[in-house]
Each structure stands twice: as C-alpha cells, then as structure tokens.
C-alpha cells in the first residue's frame, strides 16, 4: 500500500506530530490551550489567542455536522482522478472547530448541509491515516 500511494501526504510539523500519531491510532485530537482553554484548529506552536506554550490535547467525540461540501467530478489533479467522484467537505465538530475532510461511505448525492456525521479513519500509508467522515449511525 505504501509504495502505491501517489496522493499528497500531510506535511507534518514538530508541534503537529501528536495529532497525526493519534490519527494513525484512529483517534481524533484537538489541541487545547491550558492557560486560556481555547480549542485550537489547526494545531499551532503557540496558542493563537494568548501566545501561551502550555498546549495539550483532548480527544474529540468525532461527531459533527457538514458545514458545506462539493462533489468533485472534474478538473482535479491526475493523482486524484481515481477518486472521482469524491465528496470534499468542511465539517463542524461538536467541540466547535471546523476541518477540511471528505465524506465517505455514502452516495455523494445523499450528502446535505447540516447532515450529522462521525469520524472514520482512512489508512493511507503504514504511517498515516486521514480523518474522513461518514453519516452518523
């Protein structure tokens, strides 16, 4: 699988390693500032609210709602051709942060704004998994 994966792999920073390590174990983490309790996304080196370096992680419930989405059908890079059609989406987590993701495990035509979804991890290489979402059970 590793040698065949031609799509882009996240370019990880030292302060985001934890997030991706957890993702590999199929856990979705949210970075939290211990000083001002801000939930931070995407993860930063210091808190973007108060510039504190006291940052920690909490596990997200993995539940959220679709903020918006697009069914990608044409004019994508050749490396994504095999995926067409795929549902690119922004999902608002219960914890109040928004991520870019994909909606999977359902008919693209069935996706709607505000649809309830839950995280499902896609192992793309032996070292990396991406948080996708599927319709909530």
């Amino acid at each position: 699988m590793t040698s065949e994966y031609i799509k882009p792999i996240p370019i990880i920073q030292t302060w985001t390693e934890q997030f991706w390590k957890a993702a590999k174990e199929h856990k979705l983490l949210i970075q939290v500032c211990e000083d001002c309790q801000t939930r931070i996304f995407y993860p930063k080196k210091v808190c973007p609210e108060c510039w504190s370096s006291n940052l920690t992680w909490e596990e997200a419930s993995g539940k959220g709602k679709v903020y918006s989405f697009s069914v990608m059908q044409d004019m994508v890079e050749p490396k994504f051709w095999a995926d067409i059609p795929y549902v690119l989406a922004m999902v608002d987590l219960e914890e109040g942060i928004r991520l870019m993701t994909r909606i999977v495990a359902c008919d693209p035509e069935a996706v709607e704004i505000d649809m309830e979804v839950e995280v499902v991890f896609e192992d793309i290489t032996k070292d990396c998994a991406l948080p996708f979402f599927k319709p909530a059970a």
């Binding site: 882009p8 996304f41 995407y42 989405f69 059908q73 044409d74 870019m100 994909r102």
Partner: protein, 393 residues
C-alpha cells in the same frame, strides 16, 4: 492622505492563450503603451514597482534584480521593487508607489504586471496553484482544489440565502455580457452563454459548472502613477485615488466564515467610501474582482446594495449588464477576462482608470465620475476596497 496619488497612464495586452508571445514581449508592449498613454518621456519614470509574477521563478528573479529599467532604458529610475500578495499584489504596488511619491523618492512610478501561464510546464502550474492558499497539511491531502473550496463557499451561500442555481449562473451571464465587448478579454466578441448553457456546461465541483470556473490565460497590464498635483499638470484625464480600506480574513478556507467575510466586505467598503467623502449612490461603477461568481452576490448584499438573498435575482434581471442601472465589473472579472494569476487585479485597475479617462469604448459608462474597486488575494484571504474619481469631491 498627504498629496495623494493619481493614475495618469495605462497599458494592456489582450488576455489570450498565446505561448509564442513571451513575457518580455508583453512587458515591452504594456510599458511603452502606459508611458505613451500618460504623455510623458520614458526618463520621467523614477521608480518601477512590479507585481510579483506567480509561478514564474526566472522572471521573478529577473525583475526583482532590476532588469526592467535596464531593458527599457529608464535613465531617470531611482529604484525598483517587486510586491507579492497574490491577487492583491497590484494594490500593494500602488500603496508603495504612493509612499515613494509622498516621501519624494520618486515623482512618477511605473507599475507593470505580466503572466504567461501557457508556457509554464503543467506540473509546475499544478504544483503552484494546488498549493497557493491551500494548506499542505490540513487541506491538500483531502483533494482540495480552488474550484472545490469556492464550490463549498457557493453551496453555503446558496443554502443560507435561498439563491438558486439559475441565479448563480446569471452572474456568469452578466460578467460575460461585459467581456464580449472588451477587446482585451479572452471572450471578446464571443457569444454570451444563456443561463441554460452555463448550467449544461458540465459539473466540475458541485454546485460549480465549467462556465462558473476560470480559464487560465496569459496577459499583462501597466499603470503610470504620480502625485495628484503633478497629475493635473501632466494630463487632462487624471484618475484620483480617493479612499482605501482593507480587511484580512484568514489564509485558508477552512478557517474562514462567510459571516465574517460579509462583515469585512461591508466595513472596508464603507471606510473607503467615507475616506473619499462619497456615498454608495454617488458610485457610477462597481468594479469588482472576486474571481468566482459567488463573491459578487455576497458583496452586493453585504454592502447593502440589495437585501440578503436578493442579489441573485438582481443579477438575473440584468441590472448589472451594460446599459443597466448598476454597472458592475465592466471587464467581467476573471470569469469574463480569463484568469491571469495575479493579473486580474491589474486588469481591474486598468479598467477603472480607462472608464474614468473616458477610453472604455463600447463599455464606456456615460459620465462615469466615481468608481469603487476591490481586489482580493490567495483563496480570498483579504478584501481591499478603493475609491477612484475623475475629480476630487
């Protein structure tokens, strides 16, 4: 604003897919045109501030290190520089020119832009556009593209306002109505598609159809700017910068909310108008550069030119077309012009000046006195609002 700034000369080549027309062909053409249009001598140019070429590293290096005044023999040139803020670069070139002029460093400044997409190797083009304004860690691995993020913004806007796909398509129709009259447009003289044709052009990223996305093309334009005082002595058609404001939103779409963008549109617009001492009613042309259709109704509603959810209807009824009550994007934005990287903002400034100089041909808005114009960079990271006039109110 101290002495203030004015545009006195413009130059432009047609936007087209023409790999045989080199970057330096274009640079020569636009700079010669702009200097001649201003009615000055080449050696009157005392500064050159160039829009940073996107995805063209060799040209970028050449221009950064002074090749332009060298090529053109600008013997009066005192300094050169390049400005990069993506699609908002031209606005920053103008700001910097204003500072050079006010400080006395240069009295007259040349601001060129050139992009030749058609000779960039496809892989470089993809690498650049796939990752400019799209985060490599949190967006790109999911298959995020420019069309994709704008599609998501469009869907959210339609959901929040009840705007229909026919109304969204009518924005393209309106922009192309202007483009077909513009000799420098990719779509000059071409048939304007109907709403039905836009909607049958094939889905790219739902809800965006092919004709609601941009065509990458080559182009270039240039401005000659100076102080208000000198402008009035040099030309009978000076175009005065009257007001400016800006808002930064976010680098990436996932960290940007439609509501926050709407508020930024509104506040920056009103601040620029206040600085100009003008009201919305006094604006004769709204020269808007937002690259994709969705920004147009969003902006129109945010700044109170119509009620929320009514802009789509307004576009559909033809009020923004040539001859309509609200002339809007008189080169048809990137959708109507062809997308030239950081160049559509230059094309929009050139058009603002052209209209106020009375040189806009078939697109000329009669007795245009004041123009509102915006630019925006990246994936919509910011909004720069400016107001321009034939006179100082």
């Amino acid at each position: 604003m101290g002495e203030g700034l004015a545009i006195i000369g413009i130059g432009e080549v047609p936007t087209a897919i023409m790999p045989e027309r080199s970057r330096w062909d274009i640079l020569y053409e636009i700079c010669l045109q702009a200097v001649r249009n201003a009615g000055i001598d080449k050696n009157d140019i005392e500064g050159v501030i160039t829009v940073a070429p996107q995805a063209q590293p060799r040209l970028s290096a050449e221009i950064s290190f002074g090749k332009l005044p060298e090529e053109l023999g600008l013997k009066g040139c005192r300094d050169v520089c390049i400005c990069n803020a993506g699609g908002a670069s031209t606005s920053n070139c103008i700001r910097m020119a204003e500072q050079w002029i006010e400080s006395g460093l240069a009295r007259i400044v040349l601001i060129p832009h050139v992009t030749v997409h058609s000779s960039i190797p496809l892989e470089d083009l993809i690498n650049f556009f796939a990752t400019a304004g799209i985060d490599l860690q949190w967006e790109y691995p999911f298959g995020t593209t420019y069309n994709g993020i704008l599609a998501m913004m469009t869907r959210r806007y339609m959901y929040e306002t009840g705007t229909t796909e026919e109304e969204m398509a009518s924005v393209v129709v309106a922009l192309r109505k202007w483009a077909t009259l513009d000799p420098n447009s990719f779509f000059y003289g071409k048939e304007v598609p109907t709403i039905e044709k836009v909607l049958s052009s094939g889905m790219v990223s739902s809800p965006l159809h092919k004709r609601e996305c941009n065509i990458l093309a080559d182009g270039g334009g240039a401005l000659v700017v100076t102080s208000r005082k000198l402008a009035a002595q040099i030309t009978s058609t000076p175009v005065y910068k009257l007001g400016e404001s800006a808002r930064f939103f976010s680098a990436f779409t996932m960290t940007r909310d439609n509501d926050v963008v709407g508020e930024g549109f509104r506040d920056a617009t009103h601040e620029a108008l206040d600085q100009a001492g003008l009201s919305k009613k006094e604006i004769d042309i709204w020269n808007i550069y937002l690259a994709y259709p969705v920004g147009h109704p969003m902006l129109m509603e945010s700044i109170g030119l119509c009620e929320k959810g009514q802009a789509g209807k307004f576009f559909r009824e033809g009020h923004t077309w040539p001859g309509g009550s609200l002339p809007w994007s008189t080169i048809g934005d990137a959708i109507g012009r062809g997308h030239t990287g950081s160049g559509v903002s230059m094309a929009t400034y050139v058009e603002t000046a052209r209209q106020l100089m009375g040189q806009a041909g078939q697109r000329q808005v009669k007795e245009a006195q004041y123009v509102f114009q915006n630019t925006s960079g990246g994936s919509g990271m910011n909004f720069i609002a400016t107001v321009w006039g034939r006179e100082i109110p």
